[in-house]
């Protein structure tokens, strides 16, 4: 079963290599994440599977919004360069600079196009293919034999319920044993949000005047989503609150909550999100996550608390992380629909 899936997985990778249209590449990528998610589930890791599934969806959405902003990006990579003056003025106002850039582009295109066309497919792919196969063979030759050393696995499985509590060993590791890693991972998300806001071009930090979703004309979609979005929100909170017992946790639940806000955007056409406030909230939540972790785990308090509080700690921590992730992805989504609007 899993081998069948994995063969399909490899096949998709080959599809991406051969594909030229960007929109199809992204669709293949989404299918790829879907298959990876199912394989992870079969490998006995529902938490990672859930994270992968949610992440695959969000990455696909971001790519597609990106293509929607620049429609020429959607199709052929070679066509993705229709440079007409009236449609989309570049940043430089000066006419001469635009002309210079145009000339330079023409030159660059001629140079690279000449190179692309000169080689046939065989010439282009033969040497890199052989090189990759060589690396693969070398890798396989030196593959270390022997069984996996189960030292830490056994330690964790036997001790996590006593040390941390709960029933999910993965959450226990994620929130207690290796909470230091988790903090940095939350930090990466904070940085990503700030970076996306800093680096993308938009007239204002507020999303005022963002693009309405125009889903309103799709009556079926709107009425169905109106029902679904409540279930999505509920499921998100379910995952967060039960992260220590079943699969799921703060991160996965947070993504579901962000998905609820996306549904809300689609259904009600609400795009005037006070982004500055959400950013502030996200960072406050991050700060409180760090301080909470410092107080409970880093100071060693958790070992002196009765087991009930371990559960409380995990629920609060999951909740904070979930809130942070939800805010982060919400900002990312709204920022993506706001930037470079036409």
């Amino acid at each position: 079963m899993i081998y069948l899936l994995l063969v399909l997985w490899l096949f998709l990778a080959f599809c991406i290599i051969g594909e030229k249209r960007n929109i199809r590449i992204v669709i293949y990528l989404c299918v790829f994440s879907f298959i990876s998610s199912i394989s992870f589930l079969i490998l006995g890791s529902p938490d990672a599977a859930m994270a992968e599934a949610a992440i695959g969806t969000f990455t696909g959405i971001f790519f597609i919004i990106c293509f929607e902003k620049h429609r020429e990006l959607r199709f052929n990579e070679k066509n993705a360069s229709v440079f007409s003056r009236d449609e989309d003025p570049p940043d430089i106002d000066d006419e001469r600079a635009v002309q210079a850039l145009l000339k330079l582009r023409k030159k660059a295109r001629a140079r690279t196009r000449g190179k692309h066309n000169a080689k046939s497919i065989l010439q282009r792919y033969l040497a890199p293919g052989l090189f990759s196969i060589l690396l693969f063979i070398l890798f396989i030759v030196f593959l270390p034999g022997g069984e996996a050393n189960p030292y830490l696995r056994n330690q964790f499985l036997t001790q996590f319920s006593e040390h941390v509590g709960g029933e999910n060993a993965v959450t226990a590791i994620y929130l207690a044993y290796r909470v230091y890693d988790t903090l940095f991972e939350a930090l990466v998300l904070v940085i990503a949000v700030v970076a996306v806001i800093h680096m993308s071009y938009s007239s204002d930090i507020l999303v005022k005047g963002g693009k309405p979703s125009h889903v309103g004309q799709y009556v079926v979609v709107v009425s169905v989503l109106r029902v679904i979005c409540a279930i999505v929100l509920l499921f998100g909170f379910y995952l967060i609150m039960n992260g220590h017992i079943t699969a799921g946790g703060g991160f996965q639940g947070g993504l579901f909550i962000a998905a609820f806000f996306i549904c809300r955007y689609l259904v009600y056409d609400i795009y005037d999100l006070p982004i500055t406030k959400v950013i502030r909230m996200e960072e406050l939540v991050f700060l409180s996550t760090v301080i909470f972790a410092v107080l409970i785990v880093f100071l060693g308090t958790i070992n002196h608390l009765p087991p009930v509080f371990h559960i409380v700690y995990m629920i609060v921590m999951n909740f904070l992380i979930g809130l942070k992730v939800a805010c982060g992805f919400l900002i990312l989504f709204y920022r993506y629909i706001a930037i470079e609007r036409r």
Binding site: L6, L10, A13, I16, I17, N22, I25, V26, L29, F32, S36, F40, L43, G44, S45, P46, D47, A48, A51, E52, I55, F58, F62, C66, H70, E72, L73, E77, A80, S81, D88, D91, L104, R105, A108, T112, R124, P128, G129, F136, L152, R153, N154, L157, T158, F160, E167, A169, V170, Y174, E185, V188, L189, V196, M199, S200, Y201, I245, A247, I339
Partner: protein, 121 residues
């Protein structure tokens, strides 16, 4: 066996990286590379009929999956998506400015000040 598939995937995406001219494809291939490594980690200690490390009294069970790689890989997945969003944003800013996603063209365009100076010398 699964780890060999993961390694194969790793090098397929490596092949993609060294052949693709499009920035979008390169970003996608780094995502695939990450997936390959994640699959490798999760397949450590795999056996058929494996069950997830959730529940009580796991210590008596033989077929419980290793929880540590799973926790590590959740971290890796999140870092991966954060980096990917940053990459997409840079790509969009870049495309807005230069209207191209081709690596070679982008290189020539973004270095053109230097090139001119070199030609003048």
């Amino acid at each position: 066996m699964i780890n060999i598939i993961a390694i194969l995937m790793f090098f397929i995406s490596f092949f993609g990286l060294i052949t693709s001219h499009s920035m979008i494809k390169s970003i996608v291939f780094t995502v695939l590379m990450e997936s390959a490594v994640i699959l490798f980690f999760l397949s450590l200690g795999f056996q058929s009929g494996i069950i997830p490390p959730i529940g009580v009294n796991l210590e008596n069970l033989e077929h419980v999956a290793d929880p540590l790689p799973q926790a590590l890989m959740i971290t890796a997945i999140i870092i991966g998506v954060a980096v990917t969003t940053i990459k997409i944003t840079i790509l969009m800013s870049f495309f807005r400015k230069f209207k191209t996603t081709d690596w070679d063209e982008a290189r020539i365009l973004s270095h053109h000040h230097e090139e001119d100076e070199n030609n003048n010398d």
